[in-house]
């Protein structure tokens, strides 16, 4: 049985998954690899929140994680 997690892009990053709210991603890979696999430009991701906690793109995704990725929007 494949192990999966949920990836939820926030803001303009949604356009890279056809404006869906979320998609399934494979667990056992890093957030960076998950972004690349879904063709979401990692350099446009400012923050990663996993199950409500701040993580970085090198976080190894666990089964059933909910991974929110936040777009860099407009700056200070």
């Amino acid at each position: 049985m494949s192990m999966t997690a949920i990836l939820r892009p926030i803001g303009m990053l949604k356009k890279y998954i056809e404006d869906k709210e979320e998609i399934e991603v494979q667990s056992g890979i890093t957030v960076l690899d998950a972004l690349i696999s879904k063709k979401i430009p990692p350099e446009l991701v400012a923050g990663v929140i996993v199950n409500g906690n701040y993580k970085y793109k090198d976080y190894l995704i666990q089964d059933q994680d909910i991974v929110q990725v936040i777009a860099v929007i407009g700056g200070g």
Partner: protein, 607 residues
């Protein structure tokens, strides 16, 4: 006028005469408020060639039509003057709670004129308006004075205060308010210090007239609802602007050791989550803010507290000085706030000095015996103190990077990271041509907030020099500062992606005047051209050379990080300017043409 306090308060500090005049409806129509009022009164009333620290210069403090009302982030007020740091236009947006009190005292603008013979503070409690003796406060630090004044007058009184640095004439001294919010850039505090104004105390209780109360409530609530439901609200509340620290490090935008690189090997210990875990004790917001970006911190090692550091300060007093301990950065932040100097310019001038020392352009004979090196918090703290006191080597640095590098010579100008005399804020722009252009053409010097375009660089290709980038920068410059005109914070739109069209019904209900964003952007362009004309009027020979970036970004590629080996060629720099000037309707030297000035409705004002 609906949406306005109704009056301009004029305070002559020399004679002590205090007078009110109605806020001119025509100025409200053409410049709306806040930053627009500042630019208008500065250009109209400060005579050509005025000494920024002399009696002819003025400090203009203005709220906007949204200020002090139930609109998310409507706690902003603009401070404008002729900058002693740059010799041009200075405008700084102050958050906190002052603007609500200003409007509720029936005022839209305060204009401070001339120079007082003795230290004073301006006391405003509705119609009781007085200049009072400030002898007991003069010479004291900002937090100490604000605390004393709060104890004296009451918590509901809002206070803006300068520190000893401003009294001493440090050219990048700021105005501090609410124990950690500043009118930070361009030396607003320095001008107040020269005028011998230690503080402004504000309290108001009058109603603010609104054209359509029901429509205002409906539109205001729609904005608050959008903020509350925004997906990005929770992380923004947790980390504020520090959410971008890791991202800047990752993409090569984090200023490192005087902008010699854009990625810092010690960056990870400065990131937002580390700061939150190690030092943040609570969140702190401005008037009417549903998403407070302020983080209040306790530095256990020093047993001190500060509001901050926010991202710009982390960049400029952290990575740019080679400091990787967030407690050290927060302590440097606290010292700057308490003594009254801008953290961005302070970080810029110290990093320049350290690089010059390392290159042998400065020696111990110049630095009062201090060995300058990156990554040394004790030297950083000593230099901040020396700058604020203008003591020894600190006096040399207190004039800012541009003047100090010209005085030193020996090629040190190459390492001065500034535009128009203002130290560049915390985005390294070796390989980000939109952001580079934004810094080059910003109306106060190298500041980021008019056009934060670096994301666009990453979206379309960071090295590309294409018309779309120029269009984007100009759109930002016309649009984003309009929040400073309206008197509300832009970060709800910026960070929470609030639909900007939600602001228009609110503005219409409050003022009774319908304006679209297209109308507002035209006002933004008008102000942009007016401030450009101020630079031209005040600086003989002003032109293209004033818009060039720091040489580092076109001649000195980083050797480490993701931007290693990358710069923007001087040919591309000039290509960017050519496109920018043409699109703005300016000459090849960057001067607005007569046609442009007519189109902007400025021909009469600038004649």
């Amino acid at each position: 006028m609906n949406g306005y306090g109704g009056s301009v308060l004029r305070v002559n500090l020399a004679s002590g005469k205090i007078s009110k005049e109605p806020t001119p409806p025509r100025v409200a129509r053409d410049f709306i408020g806040g930053r627009g009022f500042g630019a208008y009164f500065l250009f109209k009333e400060v005579p050509k060639g005025a000494d920024p620290l002399g009696p002819q210069n003025k400090v203009i403090i203005s709220s906007g039509p949204l200020s002090g009302l139930l609109i998310p982030g409507a706690g902003k007020m603009d401070w404008t003057t002729k900058s002693p740091l740059t010799g041009g236009y200075a405008s700084s947006s102050l958050g906190g709670h002052m603007t609500a009190e200003l409007k509720s005292a029936g005022l839209d603008t305060i204009i401070l004129e001339d120079i007082s013979l003795k230290p004073v503070y301006l006391f405003i409690d509705d119609d009781k308006i007085e200049l009072r003796d400030a002898a007991e406060y003069w010479g004291r630090n900002t937090f100490d004075v604000e605390k004393s004044m709060k104890e004296k007058f009451g918590e509901e009184y809002q206070i803006a205060v300068i520190g000893p640095a401003a009294e001493n004439g440090v050219l990048f001294a700021h105005v501090n308010h609410d124990f950690g919010r500043q009118a930070g850039r361009g030396g607003l505090g320095t001008v107040l210090g020269a005028k011998k104004v230690k503080a402004i105390v504000l309290h108001g209780t009058k109603p603010i007239p609104v054209a359509d109360m029901q429509g205002y409530r409906k539109a205001g609530m729609a904005l608050f609802k959008a903020c509350k439901e925004a997906e990005g609200l929770k992380p923004w509340q947790s980390y504020g602007t520090t959410i971008v620290t890791s991202w800047c490090d990752e993409v090569g935008a984090l200023p490192t050791r005087n902008f010699s690189a854009g990625s810092f090997e010690g960056g990870k210990t400065l990131y937002g989550p580390v700061m939150r875990e190690q030092i943040v004790i609570t969140d702190k917001g401005c008037f009417g803010c549903p998403c407070p970006c302020g983080k209040y911190s306790h530095m256990k090692r020093f047993n001190t507290r500060v509001e901050g550091p926010e991202y710009e300060t982390i960049g400029m007093l952290g990575s740019n000085l080679g400091l990787s301990d967030i407690q050290d950065v927060a302590e440097a932040n606290r010292l700057c706030d308490d003594l009254g100097i801008d953290t961005i310019s302070t970080g810029g001038v110290i990093s320049w000095a350290i690089e010059c020392y390392q290159r042998g352009l400065l020696t111990r004979d110049d630095t009062d015996g201090l060995e300058l090196k990156f990554g040394d918090p004790e030297v950083t703290f000593k230099l901040i103190d020396k700058i604020a006191k203008r003591e020894g080597f600190g006096n040399f640095l207190s004039q800012g990077t541009k003047r100090a590098s010209r005085q030193l010579g020996k090629g040190s100008e190459k390492y001065a990271v500034q535009v128009k005399g203002m130290e560049q804020s915390a985005y390294a722009t070796h390989s980000a041509t939109s952001m580079l252009l934004a810094y080059m053409t910003c109306d106060v010097g190298a500041h980021h907030n008019r056009a934060w375009a670096i994301t666009y660089d990453l979206q379309v290709g960071r090295d590309k020099v294409v018309p779309e980038k120029v269009e984007k920068v100009i759109w930002f410059q016309n649009f984003r500062p309009m929040f400073d005109v309206l008197g509300s914070c832009r970060l709800q739109w910026v960070e929470l992606s609030i639909d900007r069209d939600l602001y228009c019904p609110a503005l219409e209900a409050i003022t009774g005047i319908k304006r679209t964003w297209q109308d507002l952007e035209l006002v933004g362009a008008r102000i942009w051209n007016l401030t450009r004309m101020f630079w031209i009027r005040e600086n003989e020979g002003f032109g293209r050379n004033w818009d060039l970036p720091a040489p580092r970004f076109y001649s000195d590629p980083p050797t480490t990080g993701v931007t290693a080996g990358k710069i923007t060629s001087i040919e591309d720099v000039n290509k960017l300017l050519d496109m920018y000037y043409e699109r703005r309707g300016w000459s090849k030297e960057g001067i607005p043409t007569e046609t442009t000035l007519k189109e902007m409705g400025l021909a009469e004002l600038v004649a």
